[in-house]
Amino acid sequence: MDDVMVDGNALAGELSEVFSQEMTLARVACGSCGAVEQLGADHAYTRAPGMVLRCCHCDHVLLVMVRAGEQLRVSLAGSRWIDL
């Protein structure tokens, strides 16, 4: 099954387990092209093993969340910064 693109908004539920605030309005700077967008405007894939947020300008991976049982592993390596 190919994973189909949805909006960053679709990650809001999973992100609410990690961050204490609503995250789709938070601004994220792309670690590759530097573009700054609200998280809800970036692109998301929810069916890849785990959930992935990609830059809506250059497709660079910004954030990855992988759940294994009770454990949730989060990588923000692809983002330059996130404004909370």
Partner: protein, 220 residues
């Protein structure tokens, strides 16, 4: 319709995550937009049954009144509209993509808002139009809300409305011009949303004024 113990209330456009757990512990989680207005007593979601849809076919076919569901939400702040906003509103829906827009339309009505609002709604056939009667009722309330239907596969006899996919020409005929600085919300299957959003950009609408909610391949 869902009764929610300790529900904190929602904003129009938000969604919930539904999680199903099988007896062997296997879990599947999907997002569903909230259809009811914040003003309504009960939370409503509307699920389109996909032929081999793992979660949607369970929700539509097997869930019974009185069953319990594991829900997370309300979720999201990006694809949200509040009735105190003043820009003209353009809502563009493909199939079940009308669900979060319906929450906005119901909210607008319940709050007595009168911002000029247009819903451009693409369905396959007249029988498939979700919320058809309620939309007709709201559109005849005379408070600045209009619906433009598109029927792409089958049309009732004498249909004079649109039958083609939404494109820039259609949006420029029935939508707001970019100079009116409308707020636009586009929701539906991913390819539908892509097409509408790029057409709006082509017509000069600023990207930040176009909010999108892609449902994935649903109904495509």
């Amino acid at each position: 319709m869902l009764d929610m113990p300790e529900w904190p209330g929602h904003r129009a456009g938000q969604h919930v995550d539904v999680r199903l757990t099988a007896e062997d512990g296997y879990q599947a989680q999907r997002s569903y937009s909230i259809a009811s207005a914040p003003e309504d007593d009960r939370l409503a979601i509307t699920v389109e049954a996909l032929p081999d849809g793992e979660v949607s076919s369970y929700l539509v076919g097997e869930l019974r009144v009185g069953d319990q569901l594991e829900l997370r939400g309300p979720i999201g702040g990006y694809f949200v509209w509040e009735a105190d906003r003043t820009e003209p509103l353009l809502l563009v829906a493909g199939g079940s993509g009308v669900v979060p827009l319906m929450s906005m339309i119901r909210h607008r009505h319940a709050a007595g808002a009168t911002v000029p609002t247009k819903l451009l709604f693409s369905s396959r056939a007249w029988e498939d139009v979700i919320y058809r009667d309620e939309l007709e009722r709201l559109a005849s309330a005379g408070d600045g809300f209009a619906v433009i239907h598109i029927l792409t596969r089958m049309q009732p006899e004498g249909w004079t409305g649109y039958t083609r996919r939404v494109d820039a020409a259609m949006l420029s005929d029935v939508g707001w011009s970019a100079s009116a600085m409308p707020a636009s919300f586009v929701c539906g299957p991913t390819p539908f949303v892509e097409a509408v959003a790029s057409a709006l950009v082509l017509l000069g609408h600023a990207a930040p004024t176009i909010k999108t909610e892609r449902f994935g391949p649903t109904g495509g």
